[in-house]
């Protein structure tokens, strides 16, 4: 405003900088235009993992729908109602694109994965956005839910604090969380970026969620979900595999499906050929 060293001034006063970035995001790959069917399934997922879904940014992949009309306005409203944040659609036809714009959503045409590290096996085909816990919910949700949620919020908050915003270069935020104390039944630890390291036992009825690896240097008796935002390179490591449920990038094993020879042994769980394999450490 005031004249003078204008260049410098402008530099100082810049309100923001524009950067390109490519964060991992959860994608809802629609297989039906039936919004109420989508809602039913969504409610199921959310009731199982409320923390995972809270304020989660969502991309909508319309590839499988073709031109089938879908009420994107209603769908976006539904997602917001459940505390999700719809961002944009991907792979729309021209007709869908108009609906997206009308619904206030962004449009992504190009494939998202540009990084060479990811020879992602057709990322768009992965049907499940993040982990889908189909198993029985932690023993005593419901009545105990509220209290546990509050207990967990502390941990989640801590983990968020530990994850600084992306730096100026647009690098993914270095993050992760190391917990020394036991994770007890009813507690949920959610680490949106990086590895989760737990140095004490994880009780049956407790839940660990991380976007990258999960390491438990003690018995893992609860539920562990690594690669939560569809990161199939993630692994789960534990000193004694006694888990109720493990999942990586949407693939999962229930307790009964974990081979007996690995029960109570040090183990790694990772993705192989689109399924989970357990290997002895």
């Amino acid at each position: 405003m005031v004249s003078g060293r204008r260049g410098e001034k402008r530099q100082e006063q810049q309100a923001f900088a524009l950067k390109g970035t490519m964060p991992a995001m959860t994608m809802l790959c629609l297989r039906t235009a039936d919004v109420s069917a989508i809602e039913r399934q969504l409610e199921g997922h959310i009731s199982q993992m409320p923390h995972f879904f809270l304020h989660l940014p969502i991309l909508l992949d319309l590839d499988a729908l073709g031109d089938e009309p879908v009420d994107l306005g209603a769908l976006a409203g539904l997602l917001r109602k459940h505390n999700l944040v719809p961002i944009a659609v991907r792979n729309p036809t021209d007709a869908q694109r108009e609906r997206a714009v009308a619904a206030g959503l962004g449009v992504l045409r190009t494939p998202l994965t540009r990084s060479p590290r990811k020879d992602a096996p057709a990322e768009g085909n992965t049907p499940t956005p993040g982990p889908v816990a189909v198993g029985p919910a932690g023993a005593d949700r419901g009545a105990a839910g509220a209290a546990a949620d509050r207990g967990a919020a502390g941990s989640a908050r801590r983990s968020r604090d530990a994850a600084p915003a992306p730096d100026a270069a647009g690098e993914p935020p270095p993050a992760g969380l190391t917990l020394r104390q036991p994770v007890r039944s009813g507690q949920v630890i959610y680490v949106p970026h990086g590895d989760l390291v737990v140095l004490s036992p994880v009780s049956s009825g407790a839940e660990l969620i991380a976007n990258d690896n999960i390491h438990v240097y003690a018995p893992l008796r609860g539920r562990a979900m690594a690669g939560a935002h569809n990161n199939a390179d993630a692994s789960i490591f534990c000193m004694s595999l006694e888990a109720e449920f493990v999942s990586i990038a949407g693939r999962y094993l229930m307790a009964d499906e974990i081979p007996d020879e690995h029960r109570g042994k040090p183990a790694r769980i990772s993705v192989q050929n689109d399924g989970l394999v357990v290997t002895r450490l």
Partner: protein, 275 residues
Amino acid sequence: MSKVVVVTSGKGGVGKTTTTANLASGIAALGYKTIAIDFDVGLRNLDLVMGCERRVVYDLVNAIRGEATLRQAVIKDKRIETLYVLPASQTRDKDALTLDGVGRILDELRAAGFEYIFCDSPAGIEWGAQMAMYFADEAIVVTNPEVSSVRDSDRVLGLLDAKTRRAELGEEAIKTHLLLTRYAPARVAKGEMLAYQDVLELLGIPLLGVIPESTAVLQASNAGTPVVLDPTSDAAQAYLDVVQRFLGEERPHRFLESAKKGFFSRIFGGQAATA
């Protein structure tokens, strides 16, 4: 220095009230000024177990609401000079407890020179249980040797770590003790109950003691005389050991194995422990 000790469990009917009555009595009998507070508003029964139910005039809720002074609400035990009871209300519900109110009562008790303040928690993990644990310095987690009780205790341990004053202020964590009650070694041997080693492994907190299943406990409750006051039964002996350990003395754990004699008679009698 006064210590606020919550006796809690998550699961109901595992022996919290029995433990509160016996620990408070055992410690008071050694000369410490001690009070046991019943937080089980609506289901008061600490007064029954401690044999002072006929002298209840006012209760915890009255004291919180200022309807009675604390001095009026507290009942002095007739057997032990330094023992007091603050009963729960039978007619209100747990919502009558407020954080401020409970905090004020505890401050007053500290100021009155109580050295040990035992809070008998209601079952569950809802409001009443949270009020009972919120101000605690130490917690005795009462657990029975069965999976559901262990799971609930685990959950309570998580709450003690997260939803208490010490946790919120970032102070040193509440000191937790495991008390395994209604332990029946004969049933453990038959695989009907978890062994104490398994429970310890699952919960990972120090073992304060193991109280055997004993008919003496029920008889004592009905008589309104905590078992520690008649130290002939093994449950009484076990509780006396617990009192000493709680005060810092080291004592070997007893009653972990079934006694050789009477083994069969106990099994066939359907009772796992001698009286």
